[in-house]
Symmetry: C2
Amino acid sequence: MNDVARVAGVSSASVSYALTGAPGVSDELRERIRAIANELGYRPSLVAQGLKTGRARSIGLLLTDITNPFYTEIAAGAVAAAGDLGYEVLISHVGLGQDAGGDDADDAGAARLATVARAHIDRYSSGLLLTSLLARDQPLLAELRRTHVPAVQLYRRVPGEPSDWVGIDDHAAAGEIINHLLTTGRRHIAVLGGQRSSYASAAREAGFVDALSAAGLQPANPDQGRWGDISRRSGLERARELFARGTPIDAVACGNDLIALGVLDACREDGFAVPDDVAVTGLDDMSFASVGPLQLTTVTVPRELIGRRGVQMLFRRIEGDSGPPVEEVLPHQLRPRDTT
Amino acid sequence: MNDVARVAGVSSASVSYALTGAPGVSDELRERIRAIANELGYRPSLVAQGLKTGRARSIGLLLTDITNPFYTEIAAGAVAAAGDLGYEVLISHVGLGQDAGGDDADDAGAARLATVARAHIDRYSSGLLLTSLLARDQPLLAELRRTHVPAVQLYRRVPGEPSDWVGIDDHAAAGEIINHLLTTGRRHIAVLGGQRSSYASAAREAGFVDALSAAGLQPANPDQGRWGDISRRSGLERARELFARGTPIDAVACGNDLIALGVLDACREDGFAVPDDVAVTGLDDMSFASVGPLQLTTVTVPRELIGRRGVQMLFRRIEGDSGPPVEEVLPHQLRPRDTT
DNA sequence: TTGAAAGCGCTAACAT
DNA sequence: ATGTTAGCGCTTTCAA
C-alpha cells in the first residue's frame, strides 16, 4: 500500500480512500491510484483490513457432512446469494457427529462443531450458517446469541432456542407421504426415521405416526428400529433387520432419501420387488434420489432457496436488525415417482 | 489479551508465550495464565495473529461445483488430513465454469476461479488445493507459482504447467473399461466424454479410442458428440441425440459417472434395456453410482486418499520444500456391476 | 480534497 | 524467566 502511495505521490490514506470507494478523494486521483495499484499488482490484505475493521466480509457455512448432496445444494444457493451481496462464503466440513454411536461420540461431535464455529468467529466471520444441528448443539447456539454472533439455522433446528431458521414443515410433509401410501393401497407401513435428537427427524416421525393414526393405523415396525442415522448404511442395516423379522410390510416410509436408498439396497439383496412387494419413500429429494430406472418417490424441498433465504436472513442480523427470531417455512411438494 | 495479562499480573508477551506454547515462561505460570484465559473466555484473534505472523494456519480448497459428490469425497479426505496437521480447511464453491457454454463463459469461469483463489491468498491462506482445473486456468497456476503460493492440483491437471498433482492414470482406466466391454461381447461402442479442455477427459477419451483401435475398432459415434459437460444433463442430451441417430449401438462408455447417469436416464426414456440392449459404463465411482437396483459399472478411484495425499503434498511445500513438481498416480480399479 | 498519525490484537526481538 | 516495545497493513479521526 505504501508502494502505491509512493508511486502516486500521495499518502497511504488516499490510497485507502481510493480503493475502498470511500469519499475524500477526487475522481481523478481515485482513477490514477486505481491504475497504479493495478499495475503494481497490489491487493489489499484482507487480514489487515479485518483487524482494523473487525469484519472479514465473509460468512461461515458449517456442514456436518460435506459428502451429503442435500446440504451441498443448500450451500450452492447460499454462495450465490452471498456473492450478490459482496460476501464470501467459507465452508467447513465438520465431520464426525453424523455417525455418532453413543453419548461420548455425541459429545465429541458437539465439541467439534463448536470448535469449528469458534474458528470462524475468531477469523472475524460476520455470521454463521448452521446445518444439521442436533439437540446437543443447543449450548453452542446459546453461546452465539450471548456473544452477538449472527447465526441462522438451515433446515434442521434446535428446539427451544430462540434463533433464526429457514426450512420446511416437516410434520406436514411426512403426513403427505403417508396419505400418498394409503391412497395407493398400502396398509402395513414401516417407518424408518432419522436421529431422535434431530428436531426435523422428530417432526417427521410425528408426522408419519399422526397421519397413520388418523387412518386408524400405526407403524408396522416396533419403536426401537425407528430411529437411526440418516445414512444409506443405516437404512440398509435397519431394513435388513426389518425384513428378517418377518412382519408383513408393504411400504417403508423413510425419514430422508439417504435412508430410502439404503432400504432400496436391502430390497435388492433380499429379492423384494419395488414397488410391487414393497413401496419405499424418501423425503428430501436430493438430486441423486432420481437415478437410473427406479426413481424414488419423495418430497421435494427448495434446497437452493433455503441457502439463499438463509443468507438474506443472516444479512439482516449482520446489518444490525435485532428483532425477534424469524422462522421461515418454505413450501415443499410431494413427488410420486417409481417406488410407490 | 491485555485483560488476561492484567488479571494474571504479567505482560501480554507472557500471555502470548503461555498460550502459543512458545518457550520463555515457566510451566507454573503457563498453567496459571491458561486457567485465567479460559476463565475469562479469552480466545486469541486469528486475524491479529495472521497479520503478525503472515500465516493463517488454514488452507483453501476450491471446488468448482460443491454439488458434485465426487469432489466432496475428496474434500472430506483433505479435511481429515489437515486436521491431523493442525490446519483448518476453508472450502469455497466457485460455481460457473462447469456449464460453460462458449469462450466468454469460459473466460468468466477462469476469472471467477482466480478471484476466489486470490481471496484465499489475501486471507493469508498457507496454500491452495485446486480441483476441476481446465486448460484455461493455466495463467492462474502460473501466477501462483510466480508468487510462491503453494498449490496442488487434485485429480484433474493442467498440462504443461509444472505443478504438484495427485490423481489416477486416466488413460489406463479408460482402456480397462473398453476391454471389459469387449470381453462381454460389445462391438458397437459409443464414447461420451467430458470437456475437451480437461486434461483428464482428454486422457480418458484417448484411452477409450486407443483401446478400441487395439481391437481394430473405433467409437460408434461421430466426433462431435464425444465432448460435452460432465453433468447428468449433458449425458442425457447427448444420449438422446445418439439414440435418435439410429446408428446401432450396444454400449456407451462415458467419461464419468455423472454422464453415465444421464445416459441411463435416456435409456429409460427411450425404452432401452440396460444392460441387455445397451451397456453403460461410468468412470469415477462416486458413491451415488451404485444406487438402487441398477448399479453402474465404473472404475473406482481412491477419493479420500486423493484429498489426504494432496494435503500432505501441500504441506511439504508450505514447510519450504522447493524440489521439482511431484505427480503422484494413485491406483484405480475396475468395478463391473449391473450395467454391463 | 488531502495528509499525519493512532491503533486494531497480536508476536518476537531485545532488554532486563 | 519475564517485561518492553516495535510493527504486521490497513482504516479513520483529526488537522491542514
